[in-house]
């Protein structure tokens, strides 16, 4: 039976873009369906009735939801160019940091865009602490995954989105070379990676997206 892979996503969602990275790293052909989140398709509602969210991967008619769950499914189904380590301990560490990014960095990143004044200052400091933590985890490796992009690097695409948002809203740059020399270098490698760079939203459109969505609520630096 011919393989049928569909990805339901949105162009501006880091979670949806993560799946694109993984599929492209593995050379998996897929059909991409752009969802309008204010008018969700019947297919999306059928494939993800519990959360009604993107991304959803549909493989030969069977849906998988939740981005980190989808990434593991992709890695276990298409085994070449692995994104998770094979060693159980290394795998546990990768899962830990991907979860950290989703549980800590993501909520802080969304909060910093809508908060003002002292609250925004506080969240910015929180993010800086989190970046410091991530930087010490990188420990001189090229990527969190080692020599090539892995699970944590893909999950960390949120950082790319955060930096574009900050630029769009005129917020203080957070990932400076002075403060985070190691992470800054990693970041340059990440956005230069041949596969990764195909899977970020087009810059001008992305800047515009943040200005429209969050522009009126930002405070000055």
């Amino acid at each position: 039976m011919a393989e049928e892979v569909k990805l339901f996503g949105t162009w501006a969602s880091p979670f949806s873009r993560r799946i694109e990275v993984a599929l492209k790293l593995k050379g998996v052909q897929f059909e991409y369906i752009e969802e309008n989140l204010s008018n969700k398709s019947p297919a999306l509602l059928e494939y993800n009735p519990v959360h009604k969210k993107i991304p959803v991967l549909v493989h030969n008619g069977k849906p998988v939801a939740e981005s980190l769950v989808i990434l593991e499914y992709i890695d276990e189904t298409w085994k070449h160019n692995p994104i998770l380590p094979t060693d159980p301990y290394e795998k546990a560490i990768a899962r830990f940091w991907a979860k950290y990014i989703d549980d800590k960095l993501w909520p802080a990143a969304t909060k910093v865009l809508v908060s003002k004044g002292e609250e925004q200052k506080g969240v910015t400091e929180e993010i800086q602490e989190q970046l410091k933590t991530l930087e010490s985890e990188l420990k001189g490796k090229k990527f969190f995954g080692g020599e090539s992009l892995g699970f944590v690097d893909i999950a960390a695409n949120i950082i790319v989105f955060l930096l574009v948002a900050q630029e769009a809203l005129g917020l203080m740059e957070i990932l400076t070379e002075e403060q985070f020399p190691v992470l800054h270098e990693w970041y340059q490698r990440l956005v230069d990676d041949a596969v990764f760079k195909e899977c970020v939203p087009p810059r001008e459109r992305h800047l515009g997206f943040f200005k429209v969505r969050f522009g009126s609520s930002t405070a000055s630096k």
């Binding site: 519990v50 959360h51 493989h59 069977k62 998988v64 939801a65 939740e66 980190l68 769950v69 989808i70 593991e72 499914y73 276990e76 189904t77 159980p88 301990y89 795998k91 546990a92 899962r95 830990f96 979860k99 950290y100 933590t133």
Partner: protein, 232 residues
Amino acid sequence: MAESEIKLLGAWPSPFVMRARIALNIKSIDYEFHQEKLGSKSQLLLESNPVYKKIPVLIHDQKPICESLIIVQYVDEAWSSGPSILPSDPYDRAIARFWAAYIDDKWFPSLSGLAKAQGEEAKKAAMDQVREGFLLLEEAFGKCSKGKDFFGGDRIGYLDIALGCFLGWLRVSEKMNGVKLLDAAKTPGLAGWADKFCGDDAVKDVMPETDKLTEFAKILFQAKANAPPPAN
């Protein structure tokens, strides 16, 4: 092969710690259990889990693993010769992981929301959420178990552990509120599953008795009521 050094940092009332213990039991692994005291964190805990400073932490040959579901998967993969905890098929694994994430992100917060709810209306809203969650999980149980006893089939697996660990606290909530949350009439599959889960060999010695847990809950809520408000 040299004897492995396996420690688990935890506390008997914690459902998250129970997940790790059940996984270790399934694989018949001997380990040293370090009971953390309520209200204080040991040096070993602070060193092994500097990011969250939370239990459970599994320390295997001096390497720490944190986050309960990550520990369960680690145990499954590091001791691959024992009975499997996750299903072998990638799609079944994805379904198990999806529902475990739902339990942690949506269902458990509704249960702990009930404990925190103030006033009749808030309590009722919280209870409704818990019950709605059970309806979804009943459907999941039907699909995953395929007529067998557990989400994992004939034996308990990842999703059984992810949900079953909360049964002790569920029973405490039912007792303290005088209600039934897991209703055999509405969710017969889950009700039957719950009894079988609690009776399983890997579970029964680590599932706290409802009375003991209720007493603990009272002490915990009293301590929280007496504590100064957390600094933000």
